[in-house]
Amino acid sequence: MAILEISNLCIEFPTRRGVLSAVEHLSLSIEAGEILGIVGESGAGKSLTGNAIVGLLEPPGHVTGGVILLNGQDITHLSDAEMRKVRGAQIGVIFQDPLTSLDPLYTIGQQLVQTIQTHMDLSRADAKRRAIDLLVEVGIPAPERRFDAYPHEFSGGMRQRVVIALALCCDPCLIIADEPTTALDVSVQAQIIALLKRLAREKGVATMLVTHDMGVIAEAADRVAVIYSGRLAEIGEVRSVIDTPKHPYTKGLMDSIPQIGQNLELLPNIPGAMPRLDSRPDGCAFNPRCEKAKAVCREKMSGLFTAGEKKQMAACWVYAGGDEYA
């Protein structure tokens, strides 16, 4: 059974100029030990999806439809207090900037012990032992010595490791990592990716890795979901999506990424820009930028069709011949 199962998730922002639908009918699932990458441009709704799962949507945004199941339990409309319990005990959250996730006034030891004790029935000494085990787990050298250090005494990469340790405090079954490597240097980025992969493999944590960087997805994810204008464009195993993208948007996106040794004078690119949420065209949101757009693309939103082997699926009318999923 999937650890996380989202079906038909809709997120809306009521504004005075009308309701903005930021995420529309998004369905995906993550198995234990699996890393699902969520990739998309800024404003595509990828971070909102992560925030909706942990109940941290900024008002006035709210979930207007769909179901979020965590281990079969419906967590879509939990109260703040209930959500906090679930978030602490079952979901670990890692944000982009490690500095904002840590309290500068407490030592990292205090923060870890406090988090452990709020969610687990442990004595102080046991909680401290567990905290040190966690610091070892995330690869912080000499954890006994670093236990009493303040966040500012750590480098960026070490801070992000502490944030991951905090997220792991209560043995979560799901980790939501929102751009966990964006603020870090490339050499440190590789270390953090390796850590996330090891946690998924060894502890069976289901991980949702939200990022704009296809390189990170290629390195870390098992499967990837491509989001365009709040809708799922394509989902499948990471190698098949990167090597043989099916949705015209994914194709254009992959082509526009410069690659070492390519030696092109100009980079291929998709003309135009992603539509704003208040001026999304009828039918497929990508149709004005798509070379293959047909009449039906301008009228009706496409469902998810099988578009390749190994359950690769694309929301595109080109694949209308294949089996339709949900």
């Binding site: 490339v186 590789a190 390189g215 390195e219 390519q262």
Partner: protein, 331 residues
């Protein structure tokens, strides 16, 4: 041909005083602390070429960009632009003549445009500063041409920056930088705040403008793939120093310096074929950099000499490398 050189940087040093106020220093008995952001840099750029500086954050690449643009008073060294030594000129008209020819594009498409100004005024500011338009109508026409040149329409000039997306704002920045008809553009991470599909559009625009206008670029980025795409020459920076200067295809085909190899090995790559062994450790604090070769604590080839003696750039084939191990033939 020495007259082919548009920018020559010799022994550039840029130190920042980061010490605590005098009184706290006296109480804690600490001495002055200097952040050596750039510590002895040599490179030159030929006309019409793109020279890139690549490195991790804190290596000093942006400081070099700003120093060359004349935004800092440099600590030591010479920056020679078209035969004029920037740090030695005092004559105001000469300074204006040079700054007209050297312009800059910044990283953040949000902070580089004054939010209270109309786009037309933002683009026209350099035209007005250097008196490049005969009259209002001429200025208007010049701005319209620039807007079209970067793929916007003249009517966009009446809007304010907040009405545009990140990519469009970066186009506005480019139009403004071009408005004083410069020959040399300093581009400080111009695409790193943009989405990849937009990045491709901006990089293509920059390539086209270079071909059309014969521009020379000093390009700063942390993204090796972008650097590989845009550059003719590449300088790899680590802790305020250049460790390798090399022509574009060489860097990726035949990386020499151990740090360059590390960088190439750690970038996430789409092929997914290589399984990387991530190297431990991070960039040290530039306030107390390691002695000798600053890379020695992370370098697998380091020996006693590397800890003691600072390596200088030496020519190896088409490249220049600062590494004792390579010089001694240990790698």
């Amino acid at each position: 041909m020495p007259d082919d050189i548009i920018l020559d940087v010799k022994g550039l040093k840029m130190y920042f005083d980061v010490s605590a106020p005098l009184i706290s220093r006296m109480i804690r008995r600490t001495s002055k602390q200097m952040l050596k952001a750039v510590d002895g840099l040599n490179f030159s750029i030929r006309r019409g070429e793109t020279f890139s500086l690549v490195g991790e954050s804190g290596c000093g690449k942006s400081t070099v960009a700003r120093a060359v643009a004349g935004l800092y008073t440099i600590t030591d060294g010479d920056i020679v632009v078209e035969g004029e030594n920037l740090s030695k000129i005092r004559d105001k008209t000469k300074i204006a003549a040079i700054s007209k020819r050297v312009q800059m594009i910044f990283q953040s498409p949000y902070a580089s445009l004054d939010p209270r100004w109309r786009v037309r005024d933002i683009i026209a500011e350099p035209i007005r500063a250097f008196h490049l338009a005969k009259d209002k109508a001429d200025e208007r026409q010049q701005v319209d041409t620039l807007l079209r040149q970067v793929g916007l329409s003249p009517s966009d000039g009446e809007k304010y920056p907040h009405e545009f997306s990140g990519g469009q704002r970066q186009r506005i920045s480019i139009a403004r930088a071009l408005s004083s008809r410069p020959e040399f553009l300093i581009c400080d991470e111009p695409t790193s705040a943009l989405d990849v599909s937009v990045q491709a559009q901006i990089l293509n625009l920059m390539t086209e403008l270079q071909d059309d206008l014969g521009l020379t670029y000093l390009f700063i980025s942390h993204d090796l793939a972008v650097i590989d795409h845009i550059s003719d020459w590449i300088g790899v920076m680590y802790l305020g120093r250049i460790c390798e200067i090399t022509p574009q295809p060489e860097l990726f085909k035949n990386p020499l310096h151990p740090y360059t190899r590390l960088l190439l090995a750690t970038i996430p790559d789409l092929s997914g074929e290589t399984t990387h062994v991530p190297l431990e450790g991070e960039v040290p604090n530039p306030i107390n950099p390691p002695t000798g070769c600053t890379f020695h604590p992370r370098c697998p080839y380091a020996n006693e000499r590397c800890k003691r003696e600072r390596p200088e750039l030496r020519r190896i084939g088409p490249s220049e490398v600062a590494c004792h191990a390579i010089e001694e033939g240990r790698i």
